[in-house]
């Protein structure tokens, strides 16, 4: 197990390096740079100040030299400073935005996994029932629905028309006056729509795999044997079939993690949630080099860690793979 873990973590390094090289090159080769953006509208910026900024961003050096300087700093967790007016260290800005993004994503993961499995079991064991057909319908709707459109429709319905749920931010304006219970209730209400949007699309994909994976397992000989032995149907389904049906699901789930993380950009900018996605979006608009690079790295690391966890749970759940044998692929 440890050897497997170490190997998986080591394999992340070339991937990360590749991602940073590509991002770095794209940003450097693109026209327009942060210095230009910071200075072109300000006639009072002296030539010296410009020089200083250019040197600070490493724009006076060849691209590979600049990259290695960046990389060396990153290894000491120094992602540089933001080119926004506040000029704060990038790592600080990310650290204050990360928790809420992680929080929303983890809730979404738990809900998606928690719902996809029962939906898959029910629609596979009752193939052709109304529940099964409803699942199929939902799967297609969920695939084709643009998440931001659904978000807007729900905002119109629950926010504007019915007035049940707040549609932006994490707290009401008067949250500071609330008692602790009211405060958290208010916070929870603000999360309902963002989490729902996060879950809706992801659940559609996973439910479908849960259903087909279950259908496949139910036809296997060992399930027939379990039935032939006279085991009760619930035991056959939940003990014999489910365990095996879960395995491919974990892999699919691991692959859908980038989608969740990427979805944060859209969800957070629609609902004005001050998380990593919104920060990334803003930094992209203002061409904040250091902040964009740092967000890309953090986003990639989060995704890889999520994938690793999915693979590890796969390994734990599958007694056939006591690792080492064929891990890593």
């Amino acid at each position: 197990m440890t050897a497997y873990l170490v190997r998986r973590v080591l394999l992340m390094i070339p991937t990360l390096l590749f991602i940073t090289v590509v991002s770095f090159v794209v940003m450097r080769l693109a026209p327009g740079d942060p210095v230009q953006l910071q200075t072109e509208l300000n006639p009072r910026v002296s030539a010296e100040a410009r020089e200083r900024l250019i040197a600070y961003h490493g724009l006076d050096k060849p691209i590979h030299v600049a990259y290695f300087i960046w990389l060396r700093n990153v290894l000491t967790l120094d992602f540089g400073r933001s080119s926004a007016p506040d000029g704060r260290p990038v790592i600080e800005k990310i650290a204050e935005r990360l928790p809420i993004t992680l929080f929303i994503n983890v809730i979404s993961f738990v809900l998606v996994l928690g719902l996809a499995v029962p939906i898959g079991i029910l629609s596979a064991t009752r193939q052709g029932s109304w529940l099964d057909r409803l699942t199929t319908l939902y799967v297609f709707v969920g695939y084709a629905m643009p998440s931001f459109w659904l978000a807007l429709l729900l905002m119109i319905l629950f926010g504007v028309r019915l007035g049940w749920l707040p549609i932006s931010g994490l707290h009401s304006l008067d949250a500071y006056r609330m008692g602790p219970f009211e405060y958290w209730l208010d916070f929870g209400k603000h999360l309902v729509l963002p989490v729902f949007i996060g879950v809706f699309g992801g659940l559609a994909g996973l439910s479908r795999y849960a259903r087909s994976s279950m259908l496949e397992v139910i036809r296997q000989d060992y399930v027939r044997v379990a039935r032939a032995k006279g085991l009760p149907e619930t035991r056959v389904i939940y003990r014999h079939a489910l365990r095996n049906a879960l395995l491919p699901l974990l892999t699919i789930f691991g692959l859908s993690i980038p989608g969740f993380i990427g979805g944060s950009v859209i969800i957070e900018s629609i609902f004005a949630i001050p998380g990593l996605g919104q920060l990334f979006y803003q930094s992209v608009l203002s061409r904040d080099y250091n902040l964009v690079m740092a967000s890309l790295v953090i986003g990639a690391v989060l995704t890889m860690v999520g994938n690793l966890l999915a693979d590890l749970s796969y390994a734990v759940a599958n007694p056939q793979i006591r690792l080492g044998a064929k891990g890593g692929d």
Partner: protein, 297 residues
């Protein structure tokens, strides 16, 4: 996989599936009512986009300050926006951009996928390892992050958007094509053409690829839906095709500001995206079932 071409016929260089197979495929597809309906929707959308200038009741960018924010009515079936522009006309013109982005982006992705997947599957070994590593790296990355970063630094523009969506969407096709090639390269007809002295490029493109077309076609159909959704998300975030050209996503983005007073600005463009992307998904599903009923999920 679906086309069980006889080895002898293939060795002579089969151009396309025999007419009977195509007929068989179309017959099965025609039985699937959802797929047929989807094809009709897709066709209608394409016609609407192509003939937008003839169909649009108004100039899509003409301001009409007498009819600002008017709800759907006989004069403006889908209402007008805050500048009095006709939503229906803007959507018809928007369809041109949204749909062509979908097609071109998928074309790029499929082309890359065929070449890389073909190379990986045909040659195997080191080539395969490197290409598959690249696929894994791309899959691990939240592609919207990459797309946004690239667009922000390269600048928006119709062709850039098409290229970027295509360049970040080739991984699925690559895997599919590779798997097909892995299976096909061991077949007798490939050995036969190789024995005749055919060069690798000829074997890959003339002999193996035509037999791998079916799954590629299916993934392309799904891909169009995905690309339309991605483009609209980008336009929604304000990083898509630059104004004044409307796309379905940018119409939604404009409508968001007016969400409390003008629901029609949000409902109709989103509905167009949803219906078209649903149609492509259902058609893809139908094509897959018709090509090979065994693949049905």
């Amino acid at each position: 996989m679906a086309t069980e071409t006889p080895a002898v016929g293939a060795a002579r260089g089969v151009e396309a599936a025999p007419a009977s197979l195509l007929k068989d495929f179309l017959r099965r597809l025609a039985k699937n009512r959802l797929a047929v309906a989807s094809a009709v929707v897709i066709l209608l959308a394409a016609v609407a986009a192509i003939f937008a200038p003839a169909l649009a009741p108004y100039d899509p960018n003409a301001l009409n300050l007498d009819a600002q924010l008017s709800p759907p009515s006989a004069a403006h079936p889908l209402g007008t926006d805050d500048l009095g522009r006709d939503v229906l006309s803007r959507m018809l013109y928007g369809a041109r951009i949204s749909l062509s982005v979908g097609f071109v982006a998928v074309g790029i992705a499929i082309a890359i996928g065929i070449v890389l997947g073909g190379l990986a599957g045909y040659y195997g070994g080191r080539v395969d390892q490197v290409i598959m590593w690249l696929v894994d790296v791309m899959l691990v990355f939240p592609s919207i992050f990459l797309i946004l970063a690239v667009i922000a630094f390269v600048g928006p523009g119709l062709f850039k958007i098409m290229a970027i969506i295509g360049l970040t969407g080739w991984m699925g096709t690559t895997r599919l094509v590779r798997a097909e090639f892995l299976a096909l390269r061991e077949r007798e007809f490939v050995a036969a053409v190789r024995a005749q002295g055919a060069r690798d490029a000829r074997i890959i493109f003339r002999h193996i690829l035509p037999n791998a077309v079916a799954p590629v076609l299916v993934s392309a159909t799904f891909g169009v839906a995905g690309a339309i959704l991605t483009e609209s998300a980008l336009s929604f975030l304000g990083l898509g095709v630059p104004p004044p050209n409307a796309t379905w996503g940018s119409l939604l983005s404009d409508g968001k500001a007016m969400i409390e007073v003008a629901w029609w600005l949000t409902v109709f463009p989103g509905l167009a995206i949803f219906v078209v992307s649903l149609a492509y998904n259902l058609l893809g599903e139908g094509i897959r079932d018709a090509l090979d009923p065994r693949l049905r999920v």
